[in-house]
Each structure stands twice: as C-alpha cells, then as structure tokens.
Amino acid sequence: MAGAFWGIVEDDRQGNPKKVMAEVLGEAGRLAAKAGGQAEAVWLTDKATEAGLKQLAEWGAKRVLLLEGAPFAPYRGEVWSAALADLAGKESPKAILAPVSTRLRELMARLAARMGAGLSADCTALTLDGDRLVATRPVYSGKILAKMTWAKTPWMATLRPNVFRPGDAQPGAAPAVEKPSITAAAAMLKFVERREESATGLPELTEAEIVVSGGRGLKGPENFVILESLAKVIGAAVGASRAAVDAGWRPHRFQIGQTGRTISPKLYLGFGISGAIQHLAGMRTSKIICAINKDPEAPIFKIADYGIVGDLFEVAPALEQEFKKLLEK
C-alpha cells in the first residue's frame, strides 16, 4: 500500500527466504513505525513455499506481495525490474530495501534507473531525520563513512548483511499474501546452464555469522584444512586474504577485501593475516575481530578486539579444542 516500506526478498531458489530477510524486514518495520507505514515483503520467484510465506510474516512482513511464475527464474534483471517497476507504480511504496546479494544489487540499480529514483548501496545504517531518510555507508576502503540522502521517494537502499537487527519475532503470525497480476516482460538473457561450486559443507561467506580467514601466514594451500577443521566446529565460513588468493591457494570466491567479498560477521577470526587496507575494506564492520599473527606489529592488531601474538599452527588447533569443549557443554 502507499507509504509502505518494502523488503525485496532474497531466497535460496528453493522457495525459502534467506535469513538476512529477518534483518531487512526488521529495519523496514522500525522505519515504518516511525514514518507511518508498514513493512511489506515483495517476493519474485518461480515457487514460494507455504513455510517461506509464513516465515516472512513471522519476520515482520504485514503483507506479502508475491509475484510467482516461471519467467522469474533464473533471475534476469530485465524481467524482474520491469515487473517491480510496474508493481511500484501501482503501490507507491515510500522505501524499497533489499539485502546485498549479487543479483539484488544489480536489480536495485536497474529499478532505480527505471523509476528515476536514488539508490544507496551497501548501507550499514538508516536513520529518519524529520521527513527525510539518511543512509550511512562505508566508502574509500571503509576509511570514511558517507551519509547520503534522497531528493524524493521511493528511498531505495541495499543493506549489508549481519549489520541490521532483526525485528522481534512474531511466532504464529499468518501471512497476508496477495498475488498482484503482473505480466512478465520477455527475457533477453537466454539461460544456458548453472555450474554449482563444489560444496564445502560450510556457510556462504557473505552470510555467515562467524568467519575464519587465512592469509600468507598459512604458508601453503594444504594448511587451510587447519582452518576448515576449526570452522566446522563453530559453524563458520572460511575466507582468505588477497595474498592467499593471488598465490593460488584458494579460489577467488573466498577472497575477503576490496577486490573480493565484503563481510560483516558477528565474529571474525583472522589467522596469519597482516591486515592490509584492502583486506580491512572487506571486513572492518565485523562486530568482534580476533587476530592471530606471530608479528606483533601486524596492522590487523590495531583494529582487533582480541589478539594473540603467536604461531597459528599451534593456536588454531588449541582454539579448536577449546571451542569443542565449550560447545559440548
């Protein structure tokens, strides 16, 4: 409805919204409560599950606008942006929010261009200031925070995962689902195939609540098993510094930093990582940062909440044992 705060749904392509939607809908709900409006989820998918719809309601969506149909999978920007622009034209939302993901980043840019709206990407805070919204976003390798505002509504923003607080869960909330009639535009992109990455059995890097990361100090690709073993115990994703990726020890998709992924986990553990600016750019908004490095002068200690100056080949297995003891309690 007019004045609503939309959360565009990111899902697992199997009909289930991703956990990050709890954060996006939580923020949409908080802003809507102040601005006078309500949080609504907008979901484009080829198949929504009942459980998924219920989940969106429990995370705070007062209304779910479901655009369900085969043309919406796989994601193609030209199809999604046309459908969403059509829906936004009818509904006049006050804000359109989405989590940062590869496809939603692109989608939001396209939609903003189509609607002539402003887009603030990868935000780490949103604040209502009178009748305007102000976004905070890290720029220049995260060395500076830029506060941005919009000339008009809809305010469009993508939100960095793990930064925004989920709303209070509303167990048992029934989803108010509507299926607007929107005709999907013809696709220009022709789908050929999807190549799955070899499963690591560990969480996706950008979504993980805990990230264990390794750098040059690991001395070789074979030693990443030490971090993987630790990561399995605490349910963490394993990342790498640019030095480790450029040395060919890990594929690029595991790189954290300016020319890799930006992460913001609740807990970051860096092993044998010096903390070059380009690495910090990708992880400095992590809540708790731990660094294990044998060089006491390593720059990463300057931003670490906890540091151990020592040999990671001794510290990492000891940490694994301690975490095991703790979690078995």
Partner: protein, 259 residues
C-alpha cells in the same frame, strides 16, 4: 566490433584519504590516483576480444574532472585505440543515475557492440552504473562476469556470471552491457612502446550539451562525510598457545558474547 569500456579514476587503496574543508568531499591534493582495479579487468577483456577477432576498436571512456584524463592515458597505453572524456562542470557531484544517463547517451551515439564496465569502482563502491546504463538503453546486462565469449558473427556473447554458490551461464544478444569481476583475466602492464604511442592517440572531450542532455538534479546526494569512528582499543592475550586459546574462547563467550 566496436567495444566501449567505462573506467573511473579512484584514489589508490593505500593512499591516505582525508575529508576536506567541505565536509561533503575528500581532500584531493596529495592523492595517488589509479584506474579502479575492476575497470582494468574490463579494459583487458576488451583488448583480448579485439586481438582474438583480429579486428575492432576499443574506446576507453571516463566521466570525471580534468585529472581523470590520466586514467584514460593509462587505458590508451594498455592498447585502447582512442578515448572519450565526459567532462562537464554540471557532472560535479553526479550520482550513479546522472553518470548512467551521460554514458547511455554516449553509447547511443557510438553504437558499440559491447559495453564493458568494472563490477564497481573502489572509491564509493556503489556498483550501480553498469546495470543502470543497461536499463536506460533497454540492453541486456550481465554483472560480475568471470568468463566471456563473443560469437563469430558478433551477434551474441556467452557469459558466466558469479552468483552465490556458483556460476550462471547466459547468452546475451548484442549490443549488451557486462561488468567484470576479478578472475576474468590478468590485466597486462603497459609497455614502453604503448606508453609512448598513447600520447598520439585521441582523447575527445564531450559535454552534456553534445549529448543532448539537460542538467538534472541528482536523486541521491551526500549529506556529509565522517571519519570512521575508532574501534575501542583491543586486548592482546598473553601466554602459551594453549593457555591463550583457552582465555580467548572464554572472553568470546563471557565478555563479548560472540559465541
């Protein structure tokens, strides 16, 4: 086939960046400027397409102040044939949409087969312009590409785009917009001959009026820039590895409540 490659001049990652007297801008004196790294992948890919086909033209494009010409010269030294500088005081403080409108208007005039961008510029990290240009032109678009192959007749391009959990492969009819992700290629260094040759290549200045564009206010503006708040001082945990590990896990659980 003609290929346009859009690049942005940005501060070098390692350079000190300070907020200027105007709190909406950074202090630009003393900064080392570079071509944004993802844009180098885009230039490299364009050169490879031309070399593989044995024909074509690579045009480097930037929007920015006078100093941005240096970024274009780097592209010409790498092997681009000519360059276009979108240079107009009206574009100071341009947001992504204003930038996209200018580039889209240029692409209409130049009518290339392919428009290549970097995935995002490493100064403001918006990562929006490529997709916005595609939307404005109604061209197909693929972001974060790791592989690319233009067909023999230059009618379509097959790309693999990086997504969470894998790669998605698509065919796009040309003309199309694609943005480069790290891993697409390894950019070359300019040779001395390239650097000397670049001085003779054309850099054309283009204003908004040349593209038939009227000045429009930006949809997103900077309120202020702020330095990053300092993190509270950290704690170095002393002791033998086993002892230190035990204390770190305790602190993470009891003090930080992080696990």
């Amino acid at each position: 086939m003609k290929i346009l490659v859009m690049v942005k001049q940005v501060p070098d990652t390692a350079t000190q960046v300070k907020i200027s007297g105007n709190p909406k801008a950074i202090e630009t004196t003393g900064i080392t400027w570079i071509v944004s790294p993802y844009d180098e992948f885009a230039i490299e890919e364009a050169l490879r397409i031309k070399e593989k086909r044995g024909e074509g033209e690579v045009v480097a494009v930037t929007l920015g102040p006078d100093r941005a010409k240096e970024a274009l010269r780097s592209c010409l030294a790498m092997g681009a044939d000519r360059a276009v500088h979108l240079l107009d005081a009206a574009w100071d403080g341009a947001d992504t949409l204003t930038t996209a409108r200018a580039i889209a208007a240029l692409l209409k005039q130049e009518a290339p087969g392919l428009a290549l961008f970097g995935r995002q510029a490493i100064d403001d990290d918006m990562g929006a312009v490529a997709a916005q240009v595609a939307e404005l032109l109604g061209w197909p678009c693929a972001s974060w590409i790791m592989e690319e192959a233009v067909d023999a007749g230059a009618t379509s391009v097959r790309v693999a785009r990086q997504v969470e959990g894998g790669l998605e492969v698509f065919d796009l009819p040309l003309p199309a917009v694609v943005s480069a992700q790290k891993g697409l290629n390894e950019p070359r260094y300019p040779t001395l001959k390239g650097i000397m040759g670049a001085k003779k290549k054309e850099i054309k200045d283009v204003k908004g009026a040349d593209l038939g564009l009227a000045s429009e206010p930006p949809a997103l503006t900077v309120v202020t820039l702020e330095p990053l708040p300092a993190r509270p001082p950290g704690r170095i945990i002393q002791g033998e590895p086993a002892e230190a590990a035990k204390e770190l896990v305790r602190a993470l659980r009891e003090d930080a409540k992080a696990i």
